[in-house]
């Protein structure tokens, strides 16, 4: 690997440094209604943040990136536009964003190591790898009315028959944009920009009100 690109591990030690997720202020300001709490009955929509994951943007040619990714991470690039590949234990994923752009999401502490290994494998190939981990966050949405909450929010067709598992798109969400994806039958994932996260959070609580929307306190990832 040449030193033509500056690679820098800007992740701090979470044991000694207080890290705040993009929704930290929102929880304080708008609260976190617990699922099922409001009326004593089951929430038909539930959201939960998976904070501090590693988000890497990969740019470059599909063939060379696919090869590197298979080698380093064991999963390949999704072959089709608007699609998503998830690894066996569901912790790592790669999503098509454009013909020369993919989003890689991994556990936060793997981020820099992964970038380093990818760069080592890619050598002088013309690619770009950009860490955007702190610039966005992932919000999970589940529940029987989840797709109705989405229908209120996005122009994209989120009918579960049309938006099949393994689909991922960048599209409008209310008056901002999100990456929307469906990693499995039961969950949707929204990846939102940090500065818009509070708006999206408040929008979700508002749009989900009639379904008794609740906020899961522990993300799936952290609770494991």
């Amino acid at each position: 690997m040449s030193n033509s690109v500056h690679v820098y591990d800007a992740r701090a030690d979470h044991a000694t440094v207080t890290a705040e997720s993009p929704l930290a202020y929102s929880y304080q300001r708008s609260g976190m209604p617990a699922p099922g709490e409001a009326s004593g009955e089951k929430s038909r929509a539930v959201i939960g943040e998976r904070a501090f994951l590693g988000h890497l943007i990969l740019r470059g040619g599909a063939i060379v990136l696919d090869e590197a990714l298979r080698e380093v991470l064991g999963i390949g690039l999704p072959g089709r536009p608007n699609s998503l590949t998830v690894d066996a234990d569901g912790q790592r994923s790669v999503q098509w964003l454009s013909p020369d752009e993919w989003l890689l999401i991994v556990p936060g502490d793997e981020t820099f190591g992964l970038e380093t290994r990818l760069r080592a494998h890619l050598g002088e190939a013309h690619v770009a790898i950009v860490d955007v981990s702190a610039g966005q966050t992932l919000i999970e949405l589940s529940g029987e009315a989840a797709h109705e909450v989405l229908m209120k929010s996005t122009v994209y067709d989120v009918d579960p028959h049309a938006f099949t598992v393994g689909t991922g798109v960048t599209t409008l969400f209310a008056k901002t944009n999100v990456i929307l994806r469906r990693p499995d039958e039961s969950r949707w994932e929204l990846i939102v920009r940090r500065s818009f996260a509070d708006y999206v959070y408040r929008w979700l609580l508002d749009a989900g009100e009639e379904y008794g929307i609740g906020v899961a306190r522990e993300s799936r990832h952290e609770s494991q």
């Binding site: 536009p81 454009s98 798109v169 960048t170 409008l172 944009n177």
Partner: protein, 136 residues
Amino acid sequence: MFHIYCPYCEELREEEEFHPKGQAHIARPEEPDACNDEEWGDYLFFRDNPRGIHHEMWLHAVGCRKFFNITRNTVSYEILETYKMGEQPTITAEHLAREEKTAREEKTDSAQVAEGGQQTVGASDAAVASIKGAQA
């Protein structure tokens, strides 16, 4: 509210995801300094406003962030085709006019495209040929 086929995402998307960027196939002069003021002014400021076939550049802004081109009928708002940056349209005003002429000769009904009279603008056959020639 248009429904636009993004040639990169390979599917129809809502207009709200796109930004219109004006007339397509406006090439920046290779040697700007060789242009006189009028030529440079034409490149900067002058655009066609046809009734009928128009080639437009759009950006899939909330999506893949790629620029691409649309051939659109400015009367019916029908989008006749979309194609990637660097490609040329297969449908042009000249092409339609030729079809219309053939159809008239065959006395079949092709009044749909004939109405109002298409104008030849933007990526005309001649322009396409010259660009293709330049690339070859």
